[in-house]
Symmetry: C2
Subunit: 363 residues, 2 copies
């Protein structure tokens, strides 16, 4: 079976139900989940933010006829992309819709919103609808063979991520069809390209049999999906190594692990529930006498917000303690601060020590 | 000869001249070029912004003793990096300097400035001093074999950029030691990852025997240096494909081609004088009836500034005409607007037509 067959089936199903209502002289309808924090809950067992299941029904009327038409045209575009084996960026989709006459969009915002609707309605992520963002997907180096296909010949291609020298494998924006072969023991996802290149330079992935992934800040959807698919397919633990600040803890780690509130209909596919936080923790500052910087007002605000409102933090006592400790100390720490003890310290001392006590990682 | 020997020689030479002055009981001195637009001119023949050659002399005194010490320590750090075969990010350099007692930096800004001084003084770019930034280096797909070395075994590694499937080769931040093998006919540097993936998906590099490079916006130093070294080594033409707006023309293309004003001591290494601008041009908007957006105030300001003050634009009549036309039309155009004519239009029609009239490209 073509891996896209179920998506085509779903598109056809939606179209048929609308068609049937029209035949029965009823007003056409679409049902969409409500995408808002108020319709979200944190499910510790599943490991991610989930929708509470409230839906809105869009019935065709004079006021909704344009959006209605756009949604149907967008579904048709997706079906055509699947048929031709292509993907379209969100921006390309917007420009292709220039030819929709009265149903054309007036801005890309409008087109993006309709795409989000379609994604939520069909209940698959837009990458499977063959829409992609214009974003980086992260970089990979380590004990991993990525299996892709030659675009022309359809022959399998093996990409050996251990053989990039000082470079790396750049993850594409759509990773649905990639397969993996590896004997690695874990995935180490790092915040900065600087730290990624440090670990490559220190032969870290050779010595510790792992796969290094540079997220380049908050991981993009492509990067999160890549980590998720790889971790699931090869049953690998995922350890996360960021700066020790609210941005690293909440924007990067929390987003990677449980997803984000305003995209709750997607977290199922994009979060990495098994991820665990290796460092840098507030405790590390003391233990390794690391240079720090004072917390900025925006840092404090983000941390306090999370303590008050973030269901993930509220569920995990160790995270509350870590964030409280950070606020008490009043400082943040960068992962590259470990260079105070020499460039090789992070690879030869800090990470090996940490990896001996995986159970002590923050959840 | 080790390719780094000349850098070590230069560092040693600086140190010796300071040492000799001390022995002669003279005040130690350093000579640095002045890094400012006022000390820059555009050299059409060389093809980039050059320094006019004015220097400042820094003599050691009570007021400069700390900076003086920092500069010497930074030189020593570079020498040590060369010895151990490592690189250090600018941030890691700052943290390593925590152990310099009274010469420690109070902020990374301070450390970056001293690094810039060292770079200008030794007259090599900091990558050769083994300092790197924490930035992406662009992505590559196409008819190119990159030759790197295995970090552990020092054995050569061949990276075939035609065999990445939907992914790509991620360029490292330091590209000095890479070698290249290719039968490609040209390099096509594109602004967005979205367009890069479009061309990969359309088999463009196969059909047109080229090397595709995604710059991801304004190209980083690593990306510019990669294009420069590759183009020089294999004598390849470089064509640039950006959005049709002042940002694409000036911030991306102009920076890639001739460098930037405030880094004039480096342009020699980082600019790509042979680059030519393929599109999207204001003429294309009319010829292909492309959807546009009104110019924003910031766009207009940037364009007018360039007409008045940019020596590169002032030197090239065709660029003045193009920018005037854009201002007259009052609109900008995105490269993905070509999708109005179908996703494959850019690869099957627009680029092939353009490539038949390379002489018509903007200079």
């Amino acid at each position: 079976m073509d891996p896209q067959d179920d998506v085509v089936e779903k598109i056809r199903g939606e179209a048929e139900s609308i068609y049937r209502r029209i035949q029965r002289k009823q007003k056409p309808q679409m049902k969409l989940p409500i995408r808002a924090l108020s319709n979200v809950r944190y499910r510790p067992k599943a490991g991610y933010f989930q929708l509470r299941g409230r839906n809105k029904v869009r019935t065709m009327s004079v006021g909704t006829v344009k959006t209605f038409a756009q949604t149907l045209k967008m579904l048709a575009m997706s079906k055509e992309l699947i048929r031709t084996g292509r993907h379209s960026t969100k921006r390309e989709a917007y420009y292709q819709a220039y030819n929709w006459a009265e149903a054309a969009f007036t801005s890309q915002d409008e087109s993006d919103t309709v795409m989000d609707d379609v994604e939520a309605m069909i209940a698959v992520h837009r990458e499977r609808l063959r829409f992609r963002a214009d974003e980086h997907g992260g970089e990979v180096a380590g004990e991993l063979i990525v299996l892709d296909r030659d675009r022309r010949t359809r022959q399998p291609i093996e990409i050996d991520c251990a053989r990039f020298g000082s470079g790396a494998y750049s993850v594409p924006t759509v990773v649905e069809d990639l397969q993996f072969r590896t004997k690695a023991k874990f995935i180490l996802a790092v915040e900065t390209k600087g730290m990624f290149e440090r670990l490559v330079e220190e032969d870290f992935f050779d010595k510790f049999h792992c796969i290094l992934i540079s997220m380049g800040g908050v991981p993009s959807r492509a990067c999160r999906r890549f980590i998720r698919r790889l971790a699931d397919a090869r049953k690998l633990p995922v350890y996360v190594f960021t700066d020790g600040d609210p941005y690293g803890y909440l924007n990067i780690y929390r987003t990677l692990k449980v997803g984000s509130g305003n995209a709750a209909h997607l977290n199922e596919f994009f979060c990495v529930p098994k991820a665990r936080f290796l460092g840098v923790t507030p405790d590390d500052i003391v233990e390794y006498q690391l240079p720090t910087h004072p917390l900025k007002e925006v840092d404090k605000k983000r941390a306090l917000d999370a303590m008050r409102n973030d269901p993930f933090i509220q569920h995990h006592k160790p995270w509350q303690q870590a964030i409280e400790r950070m606020l008490d100390m009043g400082v943040r720490v960068e992962q590259q601060a470990l260079a105070k003890h020499g460039l090789e310290f992070v690879a030869n001392t800090y990470l090996p020590r940490k990896l001996k006590q995986v159970d002590a990682f923050l959840p």
